[in-house]
Every structure is written in C-alpha cells, then in structure tokens.
C-alpha cells in the first residue's frame, strides 16, 4: 500500500512527470520482494528499493502543452550559459539585471558551464530542466532530439510579442529573419539564435601589409600566396586539427561558391548523392592540396587554441575561423595584432556565386525547456535579450554581432569584428549557411573525422565524399532519426 502513496508523492513534487513512470517501478519492487531470504530485512530498506526502477516503460506519452506558457512572476528563472568564447559575464551584467529590474520578484539564478550536454542532459532526462539554456559549444545538446521529444517551448509567442523597447512593433520585426528561420524545426521556431557569426580566413593585417601580401581574390592567387609565405619561412595555413570541423566549414563554403546554394541545401536535406556532387568534391580536393603542401607542422595534433596561439606568435599566416576569434584571443594576441578576415577566393570563372560570398550563421542557441518550472519567465528573458539596448551592450561587451537589426549601429568595433561586418555588408544577399551539423550530429562527426584524414593525406577527396555520403544515406534510411528539411 505504501507503494502507491510514495508514487503520488513523487508525482506531486514534479508536476511535469508523465504518468508512465509508475508501471516500471512496481515491477522492480516485486522482483525484490520475491527474494524470500530478505523479506523481513527489506521492510526497513523498502523505500530505497522502491526507487530502483525508473525507466519509463509503457504508459501514456506526455501531452503537449497548448498555448503560450504563463509567466509566474514569483517563480524561478534558472539560467545556464555556455561559458565558451563569449564567457558568461554578459548574461550576469547585461541580460539578467534587465529582467530583474522589470520582474523584481523572479528568483533568478545564474549558472555557467563549458559542457552543456554533460551538465544538463540528465536534468532533461529527469524532467527537471532549467528555464533558459544557452545550448552552445562542443558539448552542446542535440536540439533535434529535444524537439522530437517535445522538450522545447515553441517560441512563436516570443516573436509575436511586442518588442521590449517599442510596443508598437513585434519582436519578429526587429530580428534577422534568417535567424528565426534557422531556429525552426518543422516550421515552428524552437531555438533562438542570438549572435550572428561570419566565417572567413583570418590573418594579421599589419603583418600582411608589412610583407606586401594581399588577400587573394582567386584560388590560383591563393596558392601563389601560400608559396610566397612559405618561402618567407612562415607556415601558410593551419586549422584546429583535433577539431576538423574547422576545416570542413571552408570546404563546404567553397563548394557552395562553386555550385550554388543548392549544394548545401541538398546536403542538409540528406539528398541522394549530395556529398558526391561535383562542386563538393572539387572543393574537398582543393583543400586536400592545401593540406598536402601548406599546413603548419603538426597541425593534425593541435587544437583550436594551439593553432590560434601559433598564429598570434607569427608561426602561421592564415587560419579559417568564425568571427568570435578576435574576442577569444583577447589577452593572447599581442597588441596591434590587427585581426582581419577575407572571404574564400573565386575558385574559377564558372563559380555559381560571386566573389565575397560568405558563410554566415546565426548562432549561440537559446532554448526554453518546456518542462521547466517557469517557461514563461524563460520567454521573457529571451525577449529582454532581443531588445536593442541588450543587444548593443552585448556586442560592445563581447565583440560579437547579434541578430537584432541595427543594434550595433554607431558602435566602435574592434578591427577584426569591423572587418567581419564589412565583409558581411559587402556580401549582401550572397550569404550561405548549412544546418546538418545541428540536425544530425552523427553526420557532423563523420564528416569531421573524414576531413581530418583528407587534410593529412590519408584519404582522397573521392573517398571523403563517399564516407560522408554513406553516413547521410544511413541517416536517411533510419526511421528513428527525425528528418528536417529547409
């Protein structure tokens, strides 16, 4: 009899727990109680044994919540920030005070971690997630799986709400539409991208000017430049070898430049033969050549910090990275290093996209877990983040552009960020992006692993494309993986 009572207790304590939890637990209890030998002794330890079965076998699926979650002004607001290149101070000094000023009774708690998934996955599994999560970094959670399991709050009410600064416009009207689109799963926004990141090849402008080197506009010039740099005794090129996603990024951007946007949407949509398309293979082969001839010694075994410091120390001239680089290297780069970036050069006269085409991507993914205690507060927090004031101060504080339109106007930016912004402005509509990394982590891992091998010369571009294609095919054929398209 006590069994049932304790179940009720548990369920009362955590309102979000689905009813499916009960069935399994009783099985565990029976299994134990049959052990004749221990019947008497177990009476005292019973409660502990009761807890022993927890896996939700059977039972009804969780019901999806209808309508926008209400804000409980006296409730908790637990915030988890990914403590990576941007640090976590910005949340504490900019965003949280804004919300606290408007809702003084909210119990705000600030948390930061470098390993989002390791830290928070168990809380999602346990039905007790926090209100706001900045799901970023190498250890980010698989958002596709979270969406699939109904773990995330639909952000439509957030974008339809009046803007924090000006009630006459909606939040939607103040935000880069691509950001909203990319945060969508199955046509509904579940993820708020906050930053806007631009990728390119980074170098030290003062160094290039001193040596008379110029950012190349064509691939042939790029190879010439590499030769020239190498003759000067410096390594021309490197990337974060132990994280080979840093090199598949320019490969894919170059592929899109050669073959057009379609190349990347096919890849994202797991289209047949997408990875073995001619533009993709040519781009891979082009970078394989760089890998064979122009890499910094030991690149394959160095991580992003090590290669970036190597660049700061003048050991290597160029590396591919996103626009967070300058901020990340603050304190490591010598004074006057003068970061700047250039877009990928033209590959050939038949390129589908013009010079200046960029890979830009809204990022730093914020989510409001649906099973948190106070998801309404989570939405309110995101609304505060998307105010002009919050976004502008964020850009100043961490040298990163946001998806809030015009929020960086009139700000004095560091040279690297200024160079990224200029490149983005020059690119106009010629901005490409890809989503499979977010949608299918397994594909991401396989392409990263293969790219490392491609660059070290262990496999050919054809083999690289074949491996990626095989993984994509396997995912397409796997019914347990939810598919996304764009």
């Amino acid at each position: 009899m006590t069994v049932t009572v304790r179940h009720e207790r548990v369920i009362v304590n955590s309102p979000s727990l689905p009813s499916g939890w009960r069935a399994g637990r009783r099985t565990g209890w029976r299994g134990v109680s049959r052990r004749e030998l221990l019947r008497g002794a177990l009476a005292g330890l019973g409660p502990l044994a009761l807890s022993s079965c927890a896996f939700p076998v059977g039972g009804a699926p969780p019901t999806s919540t209808a309508g926008a979650p209400r804000l409980d002004e006296d409730g908790p607001l637990e915030i988890w920030i990914f403590d990576g290149g941007l640090g976590d101070d910005y949340a504490r000094t900019i965003h949280e005070p804004l919300v606290a000023a408007r809702f003084p009774r909210l119990r705000i708690s600030h948390n930061a971690t470098k390993e989002i998934s390791r830290t928070l996955q168990p809380r999602f599994v346990g039905g007790d997630p926090p209100e706001v999560v900045d799901d970023s970094g190498a250890g980010a959670m698989d958002l596709g799986a979270l969406v699939q399991d109904g773990q995330l709050t639909d952000l439509t009410p957030l974008y339809d709400a009046p803007s924090w600064d000006d009630p006459s416009v909606t939040v939607r009207e103040t935000v880069d539409p691509m950001a909203i689109e990319l945060g969508g799963y199955g046509g509904r926004p579940y993820v708020m991208n906050y930053t806007n990141t631009v990728w390119g090849i980074w170098y030290s402008r003062p160094l290039f000017e001193a040596r008379g080197w110029r950012p190349p506009r064509t691939w042939a010039r790029f190879l010439d430049l590499c030769e020239e740099i190498r003759r000067s005794g410096m390594a021309p090129f490197t990337y974060a070898g132990t994280h080979p996603q840093y090199i598949y990024e320019p490969i894919l951007t170059l592929a899109a430049k050669i073959g057009g946007r379609r190349v990347l949407t096919d890849i994202d949509n797991l289209a047949e033969g997408a990875w073995q398309a001619e533009p993709v293979r040519r781009a891979a082969a082009a970078f394989a050549e760089i890998g064979a001839r122009h890499l910094l010694e030991g690149t394959a075994g160095l991580d992003h910090v090590q290669t970036q410091i190597a660049q700061n120390r003048g050991l290597v001239a160029m590396l591919p990275c996103g626009s967070w680089l300058e901020n990340e290297q603050r304190g490591s780069a010598p004074d006057g290093f003068g970061y700047a970036m250039f877009p990928l050069p033209d590959f050939g006269p038949s390129d589908a996209m013009p010079y200046g085409t960029l890979h830009a991507q809204p990022g730093e993914e914020y989510i409001v877990p649906a099973r948190s205690a106070n998801p309404g507060a989570g939405l309110e927090y995101l609304r505060a983040m998307l105010s002009r004031r919050a976004a502008g101060r964020f850009t100043e504080a961490v040298s990163t552009l946001t998806v809030v339109r015009g929020a960086a106007d009139g700000l004095r930016l560091e040279p690297g960020l200024e160079s990224a912004r200029a490149a983005l402005a020059a690119a106009g509509g010629n901005v490409v992006t890809f989503m499979f990394r977010r949608w299918y982590s397994e594909l991401h891992d396989e392409v990263a692993a293969a790219s490392g091998q491609l660059m070290s010369g262990a496999i050919s571009a054809d083999r690289w494309a074949e491996r990626a294609q095989r993984k994509a095919d396997a995912l397409r054929a796997d019914p347990s993986v939810r598919k996304f398209t764009r």
Binding site: P18, G20, G24, G31, V32, R35, L37, L38, G40, A41, L42, L45, L48, A49, S51, S52, C53, F55, P56, V57, G58, G59, A60, P61, P62, S117, R118, Q121, F124, V125, G127, D142, A145, L146, Q148, D149, G150, Q151, G241, T242, H243, P244, E297, G298, A300, G301, L302, D303, A310, S441, E442, D445, A448, A449, A450, G452, Q453, S456, A458, S480
Partner: protein
Amino acid sequence: MNQHRRRFVAGFLAVPVTLYTVYVLSPCAQALVIALTDWRGVNAVPRFVGADNFRRLLGDEVFLRAAGHNLLLLALVPPLTIGLALLFAWLLTGDGAAGRTGGGAVRGAGFYRVVFFFPQVLAVVLVAVLFRQILRPDRSGMLNGPLTALGFEPVGPLAETRLALWAVLFVLVWQAVGFYVVLFSAAIVSIPRELFEAAAIDGARGGRLFLRITLPLLRDTVQAGWVYLGVAALDVFAVVWVMTAEQGGPDHSTTVMAAEVYRNAFHYSRFGYACAMGVVLFALTTGFAVLVLRLTRRERIEFR
C-alpha cells in the same frame, strides 16, 4: 539457534544486497530492456524494436573498430603490465630475503617502489590531461622539444591514426605498472624463505630461481591482477575520452566501446542503441572474467 542464525544471515545481507540491487542490478535489468527500444533519452515513450539495435551493431563499422581496439588492449595491457611489474618486482626484491628486512635486492629499492607507484595515485583523468600536453606534435611538446632540437622530424602519436592507439596503450601501462610492482613485491616477500634456500642448494639462482620458484608461487596473485587489468582494458574510457583528438580519434582510431556507448547515449541521444552496445560490452567482459576464473579454479584444485 536456527532462528538466530537465520536472522543474522538476513541482517548481514540486507544492506549490501539492497544497495547492490538498487544501484547495480535493477539499472542493469532496465538497461537490458532499454536495449530493445529506440529510446532517445528523454521521457517520451520508447518504441520496442526487438533485436534491431543488435543487428545494427553488426554493421556499425565504428563500433566494430571500437570492439577491436578493446580486444587489442585486452590482449596487450595485462601481459605488458604484468611482465614489466614482475621484472621490476624481481629486481627490487631478489630472492625475497632482502625485501623482508626492509631493504631490497638493490640499493634504493624503497625509493623505486615509491616512484613507480606515483602514476597510480594521480587519477586517470589527470594522467590523460598530462599526456595530451606531453605528446603535442609541435616543438612545444615535452617529447618533441628534444627531438626537434636534435634535428629529428617531430612525431605526433596522437595525431596519427596508426600511432594513437599505441599511445593509449602506453599510457594505460604507464599508469598501472607501479601498483603491480608493489603487489608482486609483497607477494614475493611473503614466500617462505626455506623454499628459496632449498632451491639454491639445488644450484638454482638468478633468473632460474625466479622462473622455478617465484613465478609459480605468484600464480594466484598474477591471475587476480590479470582479471583486474583485463576488465580495466575492456572498460577503458577516461584516457581515450580526455586524451585523444576527436574523443576517440583521429578518425575513430582510438575509440573504445565505452566511448561509443557514451557518445551514442549523450551526444546522439540514442539511449536504446547505446544500451545495446553496453550489453555487448557486458557479455564480453563477463566472458573474459568467466574464462579467467575457470582457469583460476582449476589451478586451485591442483594445489590442494
């Protein structure tokens, strides 16, 4: 008396059996059930998929490679560790007479034993972090600094698919040897001295004395160590996860089953599939343990 006895038995077993049931057996049973579902780790209801996960494992190249790496480590870690440890223990204690008096067969035996034990107390994670720095492939690495200074090409064991697993093997052995040196030294010292003296009268000494007297008498200790090291080799995780590039790379060249279980569970949210991997890992470990324990039992019978 009988009543007393029964109550005593139940009382003594209650706590350990309950703890064991709650924290080990029941999760284990649940894992077996999860392995038959496509559960993705969050509280949606899992779908029963039968043996699908296991069928899929057979075609999963990465997992098969991981299993292969585990088997290689299983084959190499115990003999290398035990071989080195026996050699050092023998050098340190000689015929056991010297060790008992607190000194050793060589001067400074106590010092050596202390130093050899160091890696064991450092915690695996710390060792892994340490070696990631030591094995850096550029000239700032501990290993490559001197090498490049001497004009050699720098080596990057962790960056080379062919070398990385050997680096993992080295670190595992490096960490484990000290413990077994101490263990075997202790066992050698506890061998009755008369046995050595009798053998010495027969003319045996040095290496032959070791092979004919010491080694056979250490058999039980060695086998216990073999089981422990074998299970450890099948369970390797921290060294691979923390030390290698791409957490089991480069290009899956160092990945092990435990890493694949963790990756599939916590990175890909494939909890059902990960549990199926765990079941295979469990079967392998059990098979290994049963095998060795069978052998042990046979030896016991021979001795008595």
